[in-house]
Amino acid sequence: MTTPLLAVRGVHAAYGKIEALKGVDIAINRGEIVALIGANGAGKSTLMMTIFGRPRARAGTIEFDGHDITGVPTHEIARLRIAQSPEGRRIFPRMSVAENLQMGADATECSEAEREAGLERVFALFPRLKERVVQRGGTLSGGEQQMLAIGRALMSRPRLLMLDEPSLGLAPLIARQIFDAIRTLNRQDGLTVLIVEQNANHALKLAHRGYVMVNGLITLAGTGAELLQRPEIRAAYLEGGRRG
């Protein structure tokens, strides 16, 4: 069995005295899309942030490509080409679309040719961004901002892309476009993706495998299709979500 690209083993993390992760184990293999679903406050985003070293794991190990990155400073983790599209998009509102994308490329030393190739890839994926390349980030619509956030993350040519709630606050049609783009990235470029979502239905249909998180613990794991069939998942995340 090959080692997974990312292996999180028994990770605990806390904000002050409040323990957000209570021994989480997940593994992401190369070329996989893994979805992490769960209710508000389950610790999904915390897990993503902990992989990035903020907050630091209090116990357990995080391995990326066979190297222990548990204690590596945040900015160096990004240099290992783990990219993150943070929750709430967090693009740079007063900087232009081109500058936002350049910020993603700045993090990793990349050649001019690699930068050009990266830009082309992003524009092929999200043609809307190309149209708006001179606009300020803050003038984009929510969906375009999400595209920009993903595009910015892609500019660092990541080996692992982590997306925190990419469909948050988007119209269903736009959310579908975003998910389609993620699927394209995975199929065509073989990109490994960890996606944190509340929209369990979309995320599990997209993902090869999924984890369900409740109160800082992984309670269920399986392929996306399996999880979609589980009655407890349907009750907790699908029917309830649809009603709301």
């Binding site: 990004a78 232009s96 700045d106 300020r136």
Partner: protein
């Protein structure tokens, strides 16, 4: 001002002028109600102790008319200067003239600045004032790195100005080092203090950062006052040597510049020399800032101002980014300080009060945070304008307060709120980012 003469120009749209008139009428009505008792009726204690009153309807009418006219002017100005979210009532030729002026303003200003000593050679006062303005331009550009680009609100910038000034003053008077040797040393020392300030405030933002930097500025000043044996305390340092032109002093003696060039000595020579020194230093500050903005470190500063969390997610080392911003800003402050010391020939802690920090910060904010041209214009307006209104005595503070409030109402992002992007792709586009309103959602 009479109400009729202030009517909107013929180019105004009917709905626009009706709206303006309505607004002005309402303002006038409010003024009438407010002032009818305050101004219209005057009461006073009479000779027998009884209350007597008389009416001043003439004054009242004048005041209401002023409010009416003023409100029209204000509304017109707002539509001229305000955000472009509705059809502008400014006629097209005026608009194109403004944009033409905008494009050529910076080069024209630069050429004019170079010619100032030629044009005003015989006017010592103007030369002195220009040197002062340029010093503040440089300080503004230096602080702009910290506040405008990196978004770190620094209320203690004067500390680095003081460090630079005292570095030069003490090195020159104690060790006899020349200005040109001390200048880089002053810059390095100030940058060092910038890093020193940076460390404790790494985790702070906004208000908290402002308070700590404010305290830092005061600490430096108090240390200077109390460390009598080194700094001379409140007496300051005097006899600071004047700068030489590569070793040639600008003095009337036989080895002076005038004698060497075979021209008659004039004290103006030194002023002109100082003028070009500070101009060169300010332009260096500007050039370095513009260059840095195009490098990853400058982009990281701006990104840090926009969103610190996103910066970390992108692998930016926020610690070094903040520290370099503090160090770069402090270095320019220190260089300006060294120049200040050599120009004055005497420095004391009184020159480095909080008021200086506030003034430089006001220049940066009024100019438009991050805009180099805006900061230069604001320095000219603040320092030059302040001198211009010297005749107004105590009212000039009032005038400046009002001017600042009005500016912040109409130009909330400063004189030049436009931010020029630094990354360009091959394909240029017709839409400028300024033409598009900010959207949410």
């Amino acid at each position: 001002m009479s109400a009729t003469s202030a009517r909107p120009s013929p180019a105004a749209q009917p709905s626009g002028s009706a709206f303006i008139l309505k607004k002005a009428l309402i303002s006038a009505l409010v003024a009438l109600v407010l002032f009818s008792l305050m101004i219209g009726v005057r009461t006073e204690a009479g000779p027998q102790g009884g209350l007597i009153y008389w009416t001043r309807f003439g004054d009242l009418a004048a005041l209401v008319a002023t409010v009416f006219g003023g409100s029209i002017v204000v509304e017109l100005l707002r539509q001229w200067w305000g955000p472009v979210d509705k059809d502008s009532i400014v006629p097209k030729p005026v608009q194109s003239a403004i944009s033409f002026a905008g494009r050529w303003l910076a080069p024209a200003l630069l050429v004019f600045t170079f010619l100032v000593p030629v044009i005003f050679y015989n006017q010592r006062y103007i030369l002195d004032l220009s040197i002062l303005v340029l010093t503040y331009v440089m300080l503004g550009w230096g602080l702009n790195v910290v506040v405008g680009l990196a978004g770190l609100l620094d209320l203690g910038y004067v500390a680095f100005y003081a460090v630079g000034a005292y570095s030069y003053a003490l090195l020159a008077t104690n060790f006899g080092l020349s200005f040109w040797v001390c200048l880089p040393l002053a810059g390095i020392l100030a940058a060092f203090w910038g890093v020193l300030l940076g460390f404790p405030v790494l985790r702070l933002r906004g208000d908290y950062l402002a308070i700590v930097t404010l305290a830092f500025g005061e600490i430096i000043r108090l240390v200077i006052i109390n460390w009598q044996s080194l700094t001379g305390g409140p007496n300051g340092v005097s006899g600071i040597p004047r700068p030489t032109m590569f070793g040639i002093p600008l003095t009337p003696g036989d080895d002076g510049l005038a004698a060497k060039l075979g021209i008659e000595f004039s004290p103006t020579h030194r002023l002109v020399f100082l003028f070009y020194v500070i101009l060169a230093m300010a332009l260096l500050t500007n050039w370095v800032t513009i260059r840095l903005r195009r490098l990853p470190i400058g982009r990281a500063w701006e990104a840090l101002r926009e969103d610190e969390v996103a910066c970390r997610a992108l692998g930016i080392n926020t610690t070094t980014t903040k520290l370099t911003a503090f160090a770069t800003g402090a270095m320019f402050g220190g260089l300006a300080g060294a120049f200040f010391a050599t120009r004055q020939g005497f420095i004391s802690p009184e020159s480095f009060t909080f008021q200086e920090s506030a003034l430089v910060l006001a220049i940066v904010v009024l100019g438009g945070m991050g805009s180099q041209l805006g900061v230069a214009l604001a320095a000219l307006a603040m320092i030059g304008g302040f001198e211009l209104f010297r005749g107004l005595d105590q009212y000039r503070m009032l005038v400046f307060g009002i001017a600042m409030v009005l500016l912040m109402i109409w130009r909330p992002r400063g004189l030049i709120g436009h931010r020029a992007p630094t990354v360009f792709l091959e394909r240029n586009q017709a839409i400028s980012s300024d033409l598009v309103k900010e959207g949410h959602g």
